[in-house]
């Protein structure tokens, strides 16, 4: 019973094996890919392991506090930012091994030529609640 975040990157992850930008796939390949992602989420809900999944717009802005009584400062997007998150999925699984297995399955989503993308997904454990018994 541990939650993990599966992070998908637009940019910043090591290069995928089947590294062709999505806009150069055929429309059918795009549809097949999207169907795979939906089926994956549906399957996880059916196994009782799905928590959340969201996609993010490719670009956003940066915001910071600028002092009492002043509006926040906004800036960006910065083209030089190395890491860009594309979306995430949160899973609740029994073991770390299971989390790795599921991330591997998600990384096998079909891309160009209908072949698996083999993209790198980032797997991050949640910090959960402290256990009661520690001594």
């Amino acid at each position: 019973m541990a939650k993990y975040l599966l992070l998908k990157h637009y940019r910043g992850a090591p290069a995928a094996v089947n590294d062709v930008p999505m806009d150069q796939w055929t429309p059918d390949e795009v549809s097949t890919h999207i169907q795979y992602m939906q089926d994956f989420a549906a399957k996880l809900e059916e196994t009782g392991e799905f928590v959340d999944g969201q996609a993010l717009a490719p670009e956003g802005s940066w915001v910071r506090y600028d002092g009492e009584g002043r509006p926040p400062v906004t800036d960006g997007p910065f083209a030089e930012t190395k890491d860009l998150i594309a979306g995430w999925m949160v899973i609740d699984v029994d073991t770390h091994q299971r989390a790795v297995e599921l991330a591997g399955e998600l990384s096998a989503a079909p891309g160009a030529g209908g072949r698996p993308i083999h993209e790198w997904l980032e797997l991050r454990p949640f910090l959960g609640a402290p256990p009661t018994i520690t001594e």
Partner: protein, 382 residues
């Protein structure tokens, strides 16, 4: 005149009611759904019309619900067949049924998460929504987890003998690894363990119950008002619940007298020695080390060896603690936290600060990470 329904009392009737339905021939999954629906009815109608025999009421309503579903299904096949409206005069709830239900819901074919979810629903009588909220997952996910668990155990005979150890593991998880939400999982784990102790005479059930009571007794002292963790040595012991402690000690003493030691009893014995000390300085660390030696012998667990090193550090000094720690696998979470603690006691504040910072980076939960970060900051700021 209306009185609110005592939720805990109603839920305590669930295992008996479910047991009756299953022994009348209802399949487990359908019977469990029917009992849940009867609970909803009870909450609605009991405030204005409290039944004289709550168990009998729940059995009757749940059985009707079960028949409604069965009838709806059989009608499709054989429209002319009628099913008896009145429940057959059946067996009364028994302790054996309760025990079988625990076995089924913690069946070894279930993953820990599934066993926990099914136990909380079918034995505890909690709703899927409550269980989902307690474990911070969507209700649909928890509903699937529960129905999948039911399917997994659908071929298990209700009368199949089970293993108390698997049940205890599930109850331990509910107690130890719950988030704190609207449902008090620790209190629920204690209630379910008490109920199990009433259904079966087993030394480790008593051991686990004592362990839970002794740790639950410290709950108010374990967190500061801002939510941060207060380590055992710094807890205000006047805030410990003395009634829970004396009950825990009593349960433990009775079971230790039977001389059939197990790991929960040994853990409870350690908790009892802490409870016994009026201040951290008065703790009987020598005896605690002896109990850890027993625990190492019983479990061989590296986590136990890690905790033993802390106890050795208190009993025989930090150098002895560090020597004991050297024999423990250092990939364990909390290994660095223990090392930091012992190094500080040994007067090496620089090493302790570095290890606390490393330990914070490896912590598995935010409260512990924040505590360890504060320790590093304390040592670095002078």
């Amino acid at each position: 005149m209306t009185a609110p329904v005592d939720d805990v009392l109603v839920r305590s009737l669930v295992p008996g009611v479910l047991g009756v339905l299953v022994r009348r021939g209802a399949d487990f999954a359908a019977a469990e759904d029917a009992v849940q629906e009867a609970l909803v009815d009870a909450v609605r109608s009991w405030p204005t019309a409290p039944p004289r025999d709550p168990t009998g009421w729940l059995v009757t309503v749940a059985w009707r619900r079960f028949l409604d579903v069965t009838r709806a299904e059989t009608t499709r096949r054989r429209r002319e067949e009628t099913v008896a409206d009145e429940p057959p005069s059946g067996p009364a709830p028994s302790a054996d049924d309760t025990l079988r239900l625990y076995f089924l819901c913690a069946h070894p074919s279930l993953t820990p998460a599934s066993g926990v979810a099914l136990t909380l629903r079918a034995v505890g009588g909690l709703t899927t929504r409550q269980i989902a909220a307690a474990y911070l997952v969507p209700e649909a996910t928890m509903a699937q987890r529960i129905s999948r668990a039911k399917r997994t155990v659908s071929d298990v005979r209700f009368t199949e003998p089970g293993d108390v150890a698997t049940v205890l593991r599930v109850l331990y998880l509910v107690f130890n690894e719950g988030y704190s939400g609207d449902v008090d999982l620790a209190a629920e784990a204690i209630r379910l363990t008490r109920q199990l102790a009433a259904a079966v005479d087993h030394p480790e059930v008593a051991g686990l119950l004592a362990l839970m009571l002794l740790h639950h007794a410290r709950r108010a002292a374990r967190t500061a008002p801002d939510g941060s963790l207060v380590p055992l040595a710094e807890q205000d012991r006047r805030r410990w619940d003395t009634a829970l402690i004396s009950e825990g000690v009593q349960v433990l003493q009775a079971v230790l007298g039977r001389d059939r030691l197990g790991e929960y009893q040994a853990q409870a014995a350690i908790a009892a020695l802490h409870a016994d000390a009026r201040s951290a300085a008065e703790t009987d660390w020598v005896q605690i080390v002896e109990w850890y030696d027993e625990l190492v012998r019983l479990t061989g667990s590296p986590v136990v060896q890690l905790n033993r090193a802390v106890a050795v550090g208190e009993a025989d000094g930090p150098r002895a603690g560090l020597a004991a720690l050297a024999a423990v696998d250092d990939v364990l979470p909390r290994h660095r936290a223990v090392a930091a603690y012992l190094h500080e006691k040994d007067g090496d504040r620089t090493t302790a600060a570095r290890l606390y910072a490393e330990a914070a980076g490896m912590a598995g939960n935010a409260a512990e990470r924040d505590h360890l970060t504060r320790q590093a900051a304390r040592l670095n700021s002078r």
